[in-house]
C-alpha cells in the first residue's frame, strides 16, 4: 500500500494538513487568549499540532519549519509536564501566533512553488529565551543540558496512559535483504501500519524518515521496534505485513522494564552479533548522535493512532464526519457542466418540435418531469457542496481584533454569532477582505481608547459583535461595535467640502444617507492614516467588492453608542429562479423572489406628473412606474399598435422594502437560469446584473432590481 510514496501527493497532503492544523491551533489560542493560562486540552492540542507539523515538515525536508515547530513543541512539552505557574500567558499566545504566522508564511511559499527560505533563527531564539524564562523559576541554570534531554525520560510513557486490559510488551525486529532500496521507507510503512494497533511504540533508528542514511543502518543491523499493545504476537506480525525486501521478522515478548529502557542501554539483546567491532562502535556513535528528542516518541508519523487514543481518553466525541478535499477547479467545472445541463434540459423540454399539434406527449411528459426532478436535485447537491460555513472567515477576524487591539493598546473583545451560517464558496472569498476592513475600522476608529471609554462611563473593555444570519434568501453579516459611533455633522461637512451634497442642507438627508457618504472614494473623516487603516483599501473598495457579488452595505450608527455595518449578500450567485419576459424585441429575466405580483395594465391606474414622471396607483398605494422600453431606449415592438402598450403587464418588484412597478410587454414563463456575467467588454449598465442563455439558445438579460430602483430615484 504505502509503497509508492508519491512526493507530489505528499506535498499536497502536507500543505493541507499543516494549514488545517495551524488554523485550528490559531482558533484554540485565540479562544483561550483571555484566560490566565491554557487548559490541558489546549496545551495538548498545540503540542500535538506542533509535533505533527514538525514530523511532516521533517519528512518534506523543510528544515526551518521543523526547527520552529520543534521549539514551540518543546515549550508546550515543558508546560504540560511541569505545569509551571509563572507563564506570562499573553506572551505565550503571541509566541504561538508568531510561530503559526511564520509557518503559514512558509507554507504559502511552498504552495507558490518556491522554497521555504524564511529565516527561523529569530523566532527560535525568542522561543529559547521564553523557555528559559519560564523554566528559571523551577530549575537552576547549573545544568548545561539542552532542554530536550531534560524530559527525555518521561517521554517514553507520557503519551499513552496505559489503558485497561493486559498490556504486553514486545520487541520486534525487521531485517531487510541487502539489496533492498529505501529500506527506511519500507520500515516506516510497517511503523505506520503498527500505529493502528499499538498503544505506544518506539523504534530505532528513530530518524528513518528524515535521515536517508538510516536506510544503510537498517540494512546493516535491522530495524528494531519496542511495542506496547494489547494484541498478540501474531497480530503484530500481521500488521507488519510482508513488504517486499523483508528478509525476516522477529517479534518477541519482553518485559515492561525493557520497554521502558528503550534503546538507550547498549547492553540490549545481542542483535548486533554479526557486526564487527568497528561497525558496532559506529553504530553506538550514531545512537548517541541521534539521541531522541521528546517529540519523536509521541506519534512517529501520522496522527491516526493518536486521534483514536484521544477519542478514547476524552469524553467529548462528536459525531464523526468524514471529508475529502476536492480541487476547487473540479467543483467549478462540475458547476458549469450542471449549468449547461440545465440549459440543455430546457432546450429539449421546450423544443419547438414538440409543439406540433396532435402529438401525444403523455409518456414524454412523464419522462420529462422525472428528468426535471433529477436535474433540480443535482443542482441542489452541487449548491450545497459549494456552501461553506463562515466559521473560518470569522475566525480570521478574531485574529485581527487581537492583533490590532493589542498594537493600539485597546482592550477589545469579539463576540461571534452565527458563524455556522453557510454561504457559497465564491462569496466567502469575496467578503473576507471587506469584512477584515470593517473590523479593522471598528477596532481602529470605532472603539475609543480605554481612558475615553471610562470618561464616557462605558465599560473600559470595548466590544465588537460579528454576526451572520440568513434572511430571505440573503445572508446578513453584521459588524457592530460599541464605540463612539459616526458623527453625522462631521461627515456632512466633509461631504460638502468634497462637493457631494451641493447646496442641500443637512436636514435634507436621512441619517443613513449621510452615513453612506463614507463609502465614497477618498472619503475619510479620520485625518491621520494609521497602520491598520488607509492601506489603500477604503470604504469605497469595500463597497465595490460587495457590489461585485450583488451585495450591499448598510451603515447605521448612534453617536456615542456605536455603529453597525450590515453586509447584505446573496446566498448564491450561480443558478436562480427567474421569470422570463419580453420587452420590445428583447428578452429579460427577473429573479422570481423579487416579484411581488403581476397586474394587468390599465390606464386608470397611471398617474402622470407634469414633469413626465409616472406613478402607479395600486390598492391605494402609489408606486414609481418604469417603462422598461423607455428606460433602456428600446425600439417599440413591431407588433404593438399605437405603441402605448395598452396590452402590457405590470410587474411589481420589491427590493429592500422598496417597491417599483415595471411595465413589460409579455410574459414568457418561469425558468431556472444560470447566471453568467455580461462580458466585461460591455461596460456596466445600470439595471442589468448579468445575462443568461435561454432554452432556445438565445440570450436574455437579467434585471437588477436594486439598480432599477436607484436609477429611478436619481432621475
Amino acid at each position: 500500500m504505502a509503497e509508492d510514496f508519491n512526493m507530489e501527493n505528499m506535498l499536497d497532503i502536507f500543505l493541507y494538513e499543516s494549514s488545517q492544523l495551524l488554523e485550528s491551533l490559531e482558533n484554540t489560542v485565540l479562544e483561550k487568549k483571555d484566560e490566565d493560562c491554557f487548559d490541558e486540552p489546549a496545551i495538548d492540542e498545540i503540542f500535538r499540532a506542533m509535533h505533527t507539523i514538525k514530523g511532516s515538515s521533517a519528512i518534506m525536508m523543510y528544515e526551518n519549519i521543523t526547527k520552529v515547530s520543534h521549539k514551540l513543541e518543546d515549550i508546550f512539552y515543558y508546560i504540560r509536564e511541569s505545569h509551571p505557574d509563572n507563564v506570562p500567558h499573553l506572551e505565550l499566545v503571541e509566541h504561538v501566533l508568531d510561530v503559526s504566522d511564520f509557518i503559514t508564511g512558509e507554507l504559502d511559499k511552498i504552495r507558490d512553488g518556491g522554497d521555504p527560505d524564511g529565516d527561523e533563527s529569530g523566532i527560535v531564539e525568542e522561543l529559547d529565551e521564553f523557555l528559559t524564562q519560564i523554566k528559571s523559576g523551577i530549575e537552576k541554570a547549573g545544568e548545561e543540558l539542552p532542554p530536550e534531554n531534560k524530559y527525555e525520560e518521561p517521554s517514553q510513557f507520557y503519551i499513552a496512559p496505559a489503558g485497561g486490559g493486559s498490556v504486553k510488551y514486545y520487541k520486534a525486529s525487521i531485517y531487510f535483504r541487502e539489496d533492498t532500496e529505501m529500506s527506511n521507507i519500507r520500515a516506516y510503512t510497517s511503523v505506520y501500519a503498527l500505529k493502528e494497533i499499538v498503544d505506544d511504540m518506539e523504534y530505532m533508528p528513530d530518524d528513518i524518515i528524515s535521515n536517508e542514511n538510516s536506510a544503510d543502518t537498517i540494512i546493516e543491523d535491522g530495524f528494531h521496534m519496542l511495542i506496547k499493545c494489547k494484541h498478540s504476537r501474531e497480530e503484530i506480525i500481521d500488521a507488519i505485513g510482508d513488504t517486499s525486501g523483508m528478509e525476516r521478522v522477529e517479534v518477541n515478548e519482553c518485559s515492561q522494564k525493557e520497554f521502558e529502557m528503550g534503546f538507550h542501554e547498549p547492553d540490549q539483546e545481542p542483535i548486533v552479533i554479526e557486526l564487527d567491532d568497528k561497525e558496532k562502535e559506529k553504530k553506538e556513535e550514531k545512537k548517541i548522535k541521534t539521541e531522541p528528542v521528546p517529540g519523536d516518541y509521541v506519534v512517529k508519523g501520522k496522527e491516526t493512532g493518536k486521534g483514536k487514543k484521544l477519542a478514547k481518553n476524552q469524553s467529548k466525541s462528536g459525531p464523526k464526519q468524514s471529508y475529502i478535499s476536492v480541487n476547487i477547479e473540479k467543483m467549478d467545472s462540475l458547476m458549469d457542466m450542471i449549468g449547461e445541463l440545465v440549459i440543455a434540459e430546457a432546450v429539449v423540454l421546450q423544443n419547438p418540435d414538440l409543439k406540433v399539434p396532435g402529438l401525444d406527449l403523455t409518456n414524454f411528459q412523464k419522462a420529462a418531469s422525472q428528468l426535471s426532478k433529477i436535474t433540480t436535485e443535482l443542482q441542489d447537491v452541487i449548491m450545497s457542496m459549494r456552501m461553506m460555513p463562515l466559521t473560518n472567515t470569522f475566525q480570521k477576524m478574531n485574529r485581527i481584533v487581537f492583533d490590532v487591539s493589542r498594537k493600539l493598546g485597546k482592550d477589545i473583545g469579539l463576540d461571534v454569532i452565527g458563524e455556522n451560517t453557510e454561504v457559497d464558496k465564491n462569496i466567502i472569498e469575496h467578503i473576507s477582505d471587506p469584512l477584515m476592513h470593517l473590523i479593522r475600522n471598528s477596532v481602529d476608529h470605532g472603539i475609543e481608547s480605554k481612558e475615553e471609554r471610562i470618561a464616557a462611563g462605558k465599560n473600559p473593555r470595548g466590544k465588537i459583535t460579528l454576526q451572520a444570519k440568513n434572511e430571505g434568501g440573503k445572508v446578513y453579516v453584521i459588524v457592530k461595535d460599541d464605540g463612539k459611533g459616526l458623527n453625522k455633522h462631521v461627515i456632512y461637512e466633509k461631504a460638502k467640502k468634497n462637493g457631494l451634497v451641493g447646496d442641500r442642507p443637512i436636514t435634507d438627508f436621512t441619517d443613513k444617507e449621510i452615513y453612506q457618504f463614507i463609502t465614497y472614494p477618498g472619503f475619510s473623516t479620520k485625518e491621520q492614516v494609521t497602520e491598520y487603516s488607509g492601506r489603500g483599501v477604503g470604504m469605497d473598495v469595500v463597497v465595490k467588492n460587495i457590489q461585485a457579488i450583488g451585495g450591499k452595505l448598510e451603515i447605521d450608527s448612534i453617536e456615542g453608542a456605536g455603529s453597525e455595518m450590515t453586509l447584505k449578500i446573496p446566498l448564491t450567485l450561480a443558478i436562480i429562479n427567474g421569470i422570463v419576459m419580453l420587452v420590445g424585441n428583447s428578452t429579460f429575466v427577473i429573479e422570481t423572489n423579487a416579484i411581488k405580483e403581476f397586474v394587468r395594465f390599465s390606464k386608470e391606474m397611471l398617474v402622470r406628473e407634469p414633469g413626465g414622471e409616472e406613478y402607479m396607483m395600486l390598492r391605494g398605494e402609489c408606486y414609481p412606474f418604469i417603462r422598461l422600453n423607455q428606460r433602456f431606449h428600446l425600439a417599440p415592438p413591431e407588433t404593438a399598435e399605437g405603441g402605448d402598450g395598452e396590452e402590457g403587464i405590470v410587474v411589481v418588484l420589491e427590493h429592500e422594502d422598496e417597491f417599483i412597478c415595471v411595465y413589460i410587454d409579455e410574459l414568457i414563463g418561469e425558468q431556472e437560469i444560470v447566471v453568467k456575467p455580461i462580458p466585461s467588454y460591455i461596460k456596466k449598465v445600470q439595471g442589468l446584473s448579468g445575462c443568461t442563455q435561454l432554452g432556445d439558445g438565445s440570450i436574455a438579460l437579467i434585471l437588477d432590481i436594486a439598480g432599477l430602483i436607484s436609477g429611478n430615484e436619481r432621475r
Binding site: 449547461e340 455580461i678 449598465v685 445575462c691 438565445s698 440570450i699
Partner: protein, 166 residues
C-alpha cells in the same frame, strides 16, 4: 503615446511568434474598403449571423451579445465603429470572432474575403492627416498593396478598445 507604440509592437511580435501564422492576414470587406486583421487574433468565423441580443444603454457600435456554443460574446459592428452608416445584415454578413488579450469580441463585417500573406517590409504606414478617413486612421496601422487593391491593416486592440482611453 510611446506606450501605445510599444503595445503595438508587442502585438505585432505576438502575432509573428507563430511561424505558420506569420504575415497572414484575414481580409474582409466593409463598405468600399478591404481591411485585414492578423490571423493570430482570429478565433473563428461564423457565417450565418446568429440572433443578437441587444444590450441597452451601450455605445451604438456594440450590437449586443451572441451565444457561441454556450459562450456569451459581445459583437461590434465594425462599420458603425468606423463612423459609417450602418448596413443591413444579409446572409453574407459574417462575424469574425477575435481574441484580444483574452477578451473575446465578435466583429460584424459585410463579407469575409480571403487570407493574404504580407511581407512585413511591404507594409506602408498610413498617411497622416487624412481628412476624409472618418476616424479610420485610428484603427489602421498600415497599408499593403495586393495586386490592384490596397488593404488596410487593422490594429485589433484599438478596434475594440475604449475610445475614452485613447
Amino acid at each position: 503615446m510611446a506606450e501605445e507604440n510599444l503595445e503595438e509592437l508587442e502585438a505585432l511580435e505576438a502575432a509573428s511568434d507563430e511561424d505558420a501564422q506569420k504575415g497572414k492576414y484575414m481580409t474582409f470587406q466593409i463598405g468600399e474598403e478591404c481591411y485585414g486583421i492578423a490571423i493570430s487574433y482570429v478565433n473563428e468565423i461564423i457565417n450565418n449571423i446568429p440572433a443578437i441580443a441587444a444590450v441597452p444603454e451601450v455605445d451604438d457600435y456594440i450590437k449586443g451579445l451572441i451565444n457561441i456554443r454556450g459562450k456569451i460574446v459581445p459583437v461590434v459592428d465594425v462599420k458603425v465603429r468606423f463612423g459609417q452608416e450602418p448596413f443591413e445584415y444579409t446572409d453574407r454578413t459574417c462575424v469574425i470572432v477575435i481574441d484580444v488579450k483574452s477578451t473575446m469580441v465578435g466583429l460584424i463585417v459585410e463579407k469575409v474575403a480571403e487570407v493574404i500573406t504580407v511581407d512585413e517590409k511591404e507594409i506602408i504606414p498610413p498617411p497622416s492627416l487624412n481628412q476624409t478617413s472618418n476616424g479610420k486612421e485610428k484603427y489602421v496601422f498600415g497599408l499593403v498593396r495586393v495586386g490592384e487593391d490596397v488593404k488596410l491593416l487593422l490594429n485589433p486592440e484599438r478596434l475594440i478598445g475604449d475610445e475614452a482611453l485613447d
